[in-house]
Amino acid sequence: MSGINKNILRSMLIGSYIVVIGFCIFGISAIYGYLNTGADRSSILHTELKKADQYLPKTTWAPLKNEGRSMDDQTLKMIENDYLDAWYVKLVAYRSNKKRGIEDYYTNKARQNIYNAIDLNLSEGTSMESTTLEHNPTLEFFSEDGQLVVLTDHNVIEYKRIYKGEALLLETSEVSTYKVILLLEDGFWRIRHMVKQDTQEQKKETGLPVFIESKNIKGINYYPQATPWDMFGVGFNIETIAKDFSIVKEAGLNNVRIFIPYDDFGKAKVKADKLEKLKQILDVAESQELMVMITLFDFYGDYSVLDWTLNHRHAETIVSTFKNHDAILAWDIKNEPNLDFKSRDQSIVTAWLEHMLTLVKSIDPNHPATIGWSNDESAIILKDKVDFASFHYYKKIDGLTATYKRLKTQIPNKPVILTEYGISSYNGFWNFFGNSENDQAQYHEKIQGIFSDNEIPYMSWTLYDFENVPKAVVGRLPWRRNIQQKFGFISTDGTKKVSFKYISK
């Protein structure tokens, strides 16, 4: 007995000894590691400033007619960078009421004004989430020694959300004009003086609604079978897409709805190869006489105010590249944004959509724009801003007629298009009471009847059954993934399911 006790005591002693030694070694190595760290000396020279895209408001310089020294492009670019950075650090400072970064972009006296504003907001418990969407600077003056500029920044569009504690007090968009004096100090163009000249509430006009011939819209949501939700990735194959488009065409449909993943396309700096792939798709669609509805911002869910300018540059590049393509039917700003209402706050998502609609329509006034709401209740949000309302319907088929009629009375002047509907033919282990392929066919037969009775333009979900549905779409849960795999009209082995007969009328 005592022998066992002794052994326990021994092992405890040895164990504690190992632990103490371990701590000592860890402590010494931590001190050694700390003493060996330090700023890289080259950082003194500001040579390694890597510029990440954080804030890219649309900036349009007026033609240069300034007084004083003539301006060169490189200096102007430097001024623009530092001036926008000055805005950015200010916006960040007001969001958190912290003073970090201000001293880099405001001179000694000017930064005091911002510190005062921060102190005031801190004491009041107010904070501000804001961004600027547009700057239109005019260079007024550039001094002979190249150390001072005066510019007038016209019609700066500022979007602000003012909070008291957690509560949102006000959401506002203003258009303001500022006169700014910047000095070149320590290699930075710093704001020395700033005077607001004018400010107005932003009139959010989306322009005249664009008419869409909706009666004949018979469409389908499309992903290639092998690469669902990754249409533009390494598996991109234009021949597969061309073949699929001819199937769609032969089935009697006349348009497809496709999705542009935000991250995959390169966020603010849209990648050229992705644009090229999209162009190929549109060209193929055009040759098949199919129209394409492009859904932007797939897999995007941030919406935070400081991210907006990046989103705008993304949309701007894509829309301006393809606004004259004959295959474009419409722009769908975002797929099912109402699903983000809970996690991201409805007001911020709606404001994001509204500004994005304004932007897309300002770039492309000739194609209609819409928002692909995931249900009929949401379809009335921003109904005055979209050119046509669109919604998705996965509820009981019997309610569709009434739902559509209600929407038509709620949105009397604009077409209402059903851009997603469908039913899964999965009835395996995870859902014994699911629908068979015959049930699916019946559903499509019946719904086509409803469409023709009520003149509902439609786009079904989807052409193919998929073998792999990414986690990001429906999550990991097998009873969700398996159902999502079986929505297609064509099964994974390429044979047409019974429902294919009812893909269009």
Binding site: E67, G68, K90, Y94, K109, N113, I114, N116, A117, I118, D119, L120, N121, E124, T126, M128, S130, E140, F141, S143, E144, D145, G146, Q147, L148, V150, T152, K160, I162, K164, L169, L170, T172, E174, S176, Y178, K179, I181, L183, H193, M194, V195, K196, Q197, D198, T199, E201
Partner: protein, 399 residues
């Protein structure tokens, strides 16, 4: 009966509620009519209200935005604009929360100047009347606001006997004046004045413009190519086209080309317009052609110098023990021993194959090469000796 009463009361309720809806916007009114305030003034916006709510006032100014909470007294809401907003000139945009009311007012800068923020550059300019420096003056008030556009600023400057005053009106928050040089070099003194506030004194240096072409001359102690004395080259006084002596330190390069086309280079900086440079004499007969440049700006005339050969001949001998090769005496133009340091080169060939070269400076008129240290093998050698442009060959047999 009960139905009738219920119906009537419902009707009244409906009527009342509808009237309250209609009346709501009228219940809060802005009663401050003043639209313009001076920076630093006490600013308060007043709203009359019949409601018992105290909405915040959103206020957006140049540097940011905030929400102001009111003080309520006798059915009036008092919104005091915080001093950090009231101190800065610009448009202030306000919006009353929970109501459709919004509006603006302007804060103007104070009308007296506290600081004349002055920027001058470049600090030195060239004479001649085409180069200029720029003075930028931003008159600011005590609260660091630039004064309103159209404020008169007097920019005065003095140069030699002239004194000028320019009246300039501020535009885009600033005023500026280009100050041109005159033909003379010197110092321009500048000052500015605005609304009786005077700046301190600033200055701009007017330096000479780029030099014009110049001439050079050479000074030497004798004409002999003794490889020992130095020749000094001197420029004329370098001046710009307006007769101003160029700045001290203007760099002049002298290029010396000898008779075979080799180029020697020397240089000097100007002091009071004159640059000097030196070059050691050649050690053999030579003709130098010299031209000087101020790089990219001006050049001189070409001068030619001839150097006369001093050593006409020399002896070569091997010491009795065959261990030492003795060259000399090397004699200069007055038969004096040539000053130490004349280069003598010995090249040794064996059956026309070069095996060794050594160069030594002369000492006391002689050059010695220690043959013992070379440890030559037995056989016949050709010794070739070069000095002062002369060449001699000697047969040597190692036993």
């Amino acid at each position: 009966m009960a139905i009738k009463h219920t119906y009537l009361s419902l009707l009244i309720l409906l009527f009342l509620s509808s009237t309250t809806i209609v009346d709501t916007p009228n219940e809060i009114k802005c009663i401050t009519t003043q639209k313009t305030f001076e920076a630093g003034e006490f600013i308060e916006l007043l709203f009359s209200t019949t409601q018992n709510t105290f909405p915040g006032l959103y206020c957006s100014h140049t540097y940011g935005s905030t929400i102001i909470t009111p003080i309520f007294k006798n059915n009036v809401l008092y919104y005091e604009i915080p001093s950090n907003i009231g101190n800065k000139a610009g448009i202030i945009h306000w919006k009353l929360l929970e109501s459709p009311l919004y509006g603006q007012f302007t804060i103007t800068p104070k009308t007296n100047v506290t600081t004349l923020e002055t920027y001058i550059g470049p600090p030195s300019i060239a004479a001649g009347g085409s180069d200029f420096s720029m003075m930028v003056v931003i008159p600011t008030d005590a609260l660091d606001n630039p004064l309103k556009d159209g404020t008169q600023v007097n920019i005065k400057h003095q140069f030699l006997s002239s004194e000028e005053n320019n009246e300039i009106l501020t535009e885009h928050l600033i005023s500026y004046k280009n100050i041109y040089s005159k033909k003379e070099t010197g110092r321009i003194l500048i000052t500015s004045e605005c609304l009786n506030e005077h700046s301190k004194e600033y200055d701009i240096n007017v330096l000479a413009a780029i030099p014009t072409n110049f001439s050079i001359s050479a000074k030497r102690h004798h004409v002999y190519a003794d490889g020992n004395q130095v020749t000094t080259f001197v420029t004329s006084i370098l001046k710009d086209e307006f007769d101003n002596v160029v700045n001290d330190g203007t760099f002049v390069d002298f290029f010396i080309t000898n008779e075979v086309g080799n180029i020697l280079k020397t240089n000097g900086s100007t002091i009071k317009g004159i640059a000097t440079a030196t070059m050691i004499h050649p050690d053999h007969k030579s003709r130098w052609t010299i031209k000087a440049f101020v790089n990219g700006m001006a050049e001189s005339n070409v001068i030619t110098l001839d150097y006369t050969q001093v050593i006409t001949d020399f002896d070569v001998a091997v010491s009795k023990d065959n261990n030492m090769l003795i060259i000399g005496p090397l004699q200069s133009f007055m038969k004096q021993m040539i000053p130490d340091g004349l280069q003598v080169t010995l090249s040794i060939y064996k059956e026309n194959i070069h095996i060794y070269t050594s160069t030594k400076g002369s000492r006391l008129g002689f050059a010695h090469f220690n043959l013992k240290d070379l440890a030559l093998k037995k056989g016949n050698y050709n010794f070739n000796i070069k000095t002062a442009g002369l060449e001699k060959t000697l047969q040597f047999t190692k036993l």
